[in-house]
């Protein structure tokens, strides 16, 4: 494991280096803003005692909102990406800053304050000549905690499409690449430790009593710099150039398709592509961002679009694709382009030897021999609305017995002939190398989930060449091929980009 992580870090130095830089920039922006705003709020709370209770109460309340839902609130307002991440991180960082500023100010000796007052200091002079310098050690320890916390929390920023080391963690989790996850986590921990140490050194150095004026300048400089990074960063976010923004959902095959789109578009146009891989929450977060124009293209599944986006309640079959396309054009001015040819659906699979012996092709074919077969599935399959019972009812199946299995052990159990039939995803990486055969859902028990790209109409009108490029993706992947690519990434440890590139080359779409 250790050597795997090390090799990965060495091989993809640049990738990790960029993530580290992004991670630091996002965190610095949040920390800078929290220092400025949290400091101001803390001072207000400390100076106007009556305001302190409501202020601290509100800040405490913000802190109790789970970060995931906080991100969820902001996505509709600020869109997906770094802005939302920075704002969320800033809000969380406020609490330690406000608290430490408030506590620091409150703990300054009352007699000292009275002495300063008695000597003719104005309120403001008392604040900046006496209270703030004396509160600084407490504030610094608050800042120190806050920095470490923000660095750790920034790991979830990638969940909503922001950069940073969370990208590595998240990608590692979704593509079953443990080394990637560990490398990302490790780097976050290292960054946190490093910064904690740096601030510790700074604190000690500040504590040394020399060249005071210059020190104040440097501290002020650091604060302004951090706030500046934050500001410029938000400003930059607002500027959009000729970039095509591609989003993907947190699934291995989506990462691969994202890379394919990137390679194809950059290979045959002058457009620059920016992929936001693995947007947390998938469709529910990507669709609003498509509508607001933050994203231009993303791979989607017809059945998901039908149910989740168009909010239709009936079962989707590919006969309704015309209706689906029209609804997208009329409602959202979006097109379905480049239907890959595979479908990520549920299916029932039987062992190959059984399929050959009994000549099984459809689920209906199972009916005759089901009483002699063992059915295996993950625990929740037996409870779900589209799970075991309704399935058996539709097809009139009765199995000899059923087995509860962990989802990861299903294929192994089938390989050892402990189970005969099981539900699968048609693009499951393991399926591509297993001795299982998927049976056709001839009674349409499951909705169809054919995969294609959704593209914003505005982008197509602006860059008509995309129409033809995306068209090249029509029917290039079968279920087994997609499953095979998933397997290469998840089990063989290939990078999604490499898998995508090799595949496109094999198909002759790039040189």
């Amino acid at each position: 494991m250790v050597s795997e992580v090390w090799t990965l870090l060495c091989e993809r130095r640049e990738f990790f280096w960029n993530l580290c830089v992004q991670h630091l920039v996002i965190s610095a922006a949040a920390v800078g803003m929290a220092i400025v705003f949290g400091g101001i709020i803390g001072i207000i709370a400390g100076e106007m005692r009556r305001s302190s209770k409501p202020i601290v109460g509100i800040v405490n309340f913000l802190y109790t909102i789970p970060s995931i839902s906080m991100l969820g609130f902001f996505i509709p307002v600020f869109g997906i990406g770094n802005t939302t991440a920075v704002i969320t991180l800033t809000l969380y960082a406020l609490l330690p800053m406000v608290r430490s500023t408030y506590t620091g100010l409150k703990n300054v000796d009352e007699h000292l304050i009275e002495a300063a007052k008695g000597m003719g200091s104005t309120k403001f002079q008392i604040l900046y000549k006496v209270k703030l310098p004396l509160a600084l050690p407490v504030m610094m320890s608050g800042i120190r905690n806050m920095v470490v916390m923000t660095l750790a929390l920034a790991g979830i920023a990638s969940f909503i499409g922001a950069g940073g080391l969370g990208v590595a963690i998240y990608r590692g989790i979704t593509t079953n690449n443990m080394a990637m996850t560990v490398a990302g986590s490790l780097l976050i921990a290292l960054l946190a430790l490093l910064l904690d140490w740096v601030i510790g050194v700074l604190e000690k150095w500040r504590g040394k009593r020399k060249k005071k004026g210059r020190k104040k300048l440097i501290i002020a400089g650091i604060m302004i710099l951090a706030a500046g990074i934050g500001g410029s960063f938000l400003w930059n976010e607002g500027n959009k150039t000729e970039i095509v923004h591609i989003a993907t959902k947190p699934m291995t095959e989506q990462y691969i398709m994202g890379e394919m789109l990137d390679i194809l578009i950059e290979d045959s146009t002058d457009l620059q592509v920016e992929i936001t891989q693995g947007v947390g929450g998938g469709t529910s977060n990507i669709q609003p961002a498509m509508e607001s124009g933050d994203f231009d293209i993303y791979p989607e599944y017809t059945g998901t679009a039908w149910n989740m986006v168009l909010k239709k309640e009936d079962l989707y079959t590919e006969e309704k694709q015309g209706e689906l396309r029209r609804a997208y054009q009329e409602k959202y001015d979006m097109e379905w382009l480049g239907m890959y040819g595979f479908s990520n659906s549920y299916a029932l699979a039987v062992r190959k030897d059984l399929a050959e012996t009994y000549d099984l092709h459809t689920i209906s074919d199972l009916k005759e021999i089901a009483p002699s077969l063992t059915f295996g599935a993950e625990y929740d399959f037996y409870e779900r609305e589209d799970g075991y019972e309704p399935l058996c009812e539709t097809y009139g199946l009765q199995f000899k017995n059923t087995v509860d299995l962990d989802i990861g052990l299903k294929y192994e159990a089938a390989g050892q002939k402990e189970i005969d039939v099981m539900p699968i995803f048609t693009t499951d990486g393991q399926y591509s190398v297993s001795d299982m055969v998927a049976l056709e859902d001839d009674l349409h028990f499951y909705p169809s989930y054919a995969c294609g790209n959704i593209v914003r109409g505005e982008v197509l009108r602006k860059h008509p060449e995309l129409q033809q490029i995306l068209g090249k993706l029509d029917e290039i992947l079968t279920n087994k091929e997609m499953a095979r690519l998933n397997y290469e990434v998840e089990t063989e440890g290939k990078e999604p980009r490499q898998a995508a590139e090799e595949f496109l080359r094999k198909k002759g779409l790039i040189l």
């Binding site: 000292l112 300063a116 008695g118 000597m119 003719g120 200091s121 104005t122 310098p133």
Partner: protein
């Protein structure tokens, strides 16, 4: 001699408790008034009415003939030196920054360092100490810096609230001599709160004896000893141990 400070029918209450009860007093320019009385008799409260840290419930304080209700308190305070019980130097400032605190507030930029050095000399402090921080000084040095800080803006009035409270007997006597010297040299008006009758008799040109918010006697030290006004004053004088040294 003209009046420097006039207390006009001062009443101060904290809740139900009356701390100062209808007090009237004139302090002449250049006077060194020591204020003595049992603890809780309102000494410190009375002192703080002069620079507006305490606002009386009734009555008025006139400084230089002007009611402190009518003047800008901030600039008034800058013209009144304030030296307080215990060690209340600003711990994050050097000795120099502490001494020059009020001149800095006012923004007198010329000859600051010389001012600091002048007061260091006056209070027999080594110039070397200028760049030290308060926690690197002895208790006596801290008190001296505190007094230098109160004097640095060359105030007409100096308010001192048990400034020698935290130092040993020997240092206390030295400081007493020095402050007396400064009073004679600088011709400032001093109000000096103490709970030590020897100190009060030795330092003051006038002694103010307070009890239960009322003036028991306001007189020269000699008259206080020879003609105590009442039983309270007599007892107070009787308690002194080193009367002969006065």
């Amino acid at each position: 001699m003209e009046n420097m400070i006039r207390f006009q029918n001062i009443v101060k209450k904290y809740g139900e408790k009356t701390i100062i009860d209808d007090l009237c007093l004139d302090v002449k320019r250049g006077e060194f008034v020591t204020i003595i009385g049992s603890s809780g008799c309102g000494k410190t409260t009375l002192l703080k009415t002069v620079n507006g840290l305490v606002e009386p419930n009734e009555g008025d304080v006139l400084v230089n003939g002007a009611s402190i209700k009518d003047v800008d308190l901030i600039s008034l305070r800058r013209r009144i030196g304030y030296s307080i019980q215990g060690n209340l130097l600003f711990p994050h400032m050097t000795v120099e920054e502490n001494i020059l605190y009020v001149p800095h507030l006012i923004g007198k930029h010329k000859k600051k360092r010389e001012t600091a050095i002048k007061w260091m000399r006056m209070l027999r402090l080594d110039e070397e100490l200028l760049s030290r921080f308060p926690d690197q000084l002895s208790g006596g040095q801290q008190q001296r810096v505190g007094i230098a800080r109160a004097l640095a803006a060359e105030p007409e009035i100096l308010l001192m609230d048990e400034p020698f409270g935290a130092v040993d007997e020997i240092t206390r006597e030295q400081l007493g001599r020095e402050i007396k010297e400064i009073h004679q040299k600088e011709k400032i008006t001093i109000l000096f709160v103490t709970h030590d009758i020897d100190e009060a008799l030795y330092l003051g040109t006038k002694v103010l004896v307070l009890d239960q918010g009322l003036i028991q006697q306001y007189d020269s030290p000699t008259n206080l000893i020879t003609h105590p006004a009442n039983e309270f004053v007599r007892k107070l004088i009787g308690h002194r141990q080193m009367a002969q040294s006065v």
